[in-house]
Amino acid sequence: MRNRRYETVFILPADLGEGRQQELLDRLDGVVDKGGGIRIKREDWGVRKLAYPVKKQPKGHYYLLDFVGNAQIVSELERQMRMLENVLRFLTVKTEDRVDLEAAKKEQAEERDKAAAKEAAAREAAAKEAAAREAAEQKKAAEEAAEEEAAASTPEPEAVPEEDAAPEEAVQEEQKTEG
């Protein structure tokens, strides 16, 4: 059967749990894979306000699935989406009538690399942030311990520890802005 390029936009409820959402996405991906299609990319448009309520929902999470496949995949995909109650709306549009399978595979690989790079960058940023937060906490803890120690060893009037505390706070703030 002839392969064409399609894009399917579908809307999931905004309040659906992340696990349920992933389950649905995997299931729809599976339909394309099983039919021998090539999934080029999936766009996540995020949660948007609907122009009018659908199934009493004021907001929806939009997704776009870009794939190459035959008509059977499309009908199976639409059948599944009709059955699933959590799909508020869907629309499949043919974007290309003639596709070069090799080019499609190449594009798929490119998109995958792009997505992986993006994910890696996000993960790195998150790790960096976590490390910075941890370092700040450790420093804070150390300072607190030092303060306590100082307070214990020199039970003097409050003027001395207060002077100590001021520069320490400044250091902490500097670190925060860096992170």
């Binding site: 936009v9 609907l50 122009a51 009018y52 929806g60 508020l88 709306r89 629309l91 549009v93």
Partner: protein, 86 residues
């Protein structure tokens, strides 16, 4: 008498008619896309009705594309079918 009056009205009306150019023909880089409701909003009224090409000045080819795009956007709740609040 009546004929002359009609003729006058016609000529008077023609004075105000200005030939509009289809913006999509004038600028080939403009794409009509159902996924971009902000662009399509220009072609619907406040109530959400599609503006006729007699007013928008689109050519027939691009008006058809606009209509299709608006209808697709409506189905996906990106645009309203009606807007009764206004």
């Amino acid at each position: 008498m009546i004929g002359r009056r009609e003729q006058r009205r016609k000529t008077k009306r023609r004075l105000y008619v200005r030939k509009k150019v289809c913006r999509f023909c004038a600028d080939a880089t403009l794409q009509i896309n159902y996924k971009d409701p902000r662009q399509l909003r220009y072609f619907i009224t406040e109530r959400g009705k599609i503006i006729p090409r007699r007013i928008s000045g689109n050519c027939a080819k691009h008006q058809r594309k606009i209509t299709l795009a608006v209808k697709r956007a409506r189905h996906l709740a990106l645009m309203p079918y009606t807007n009764m609040e206004i």
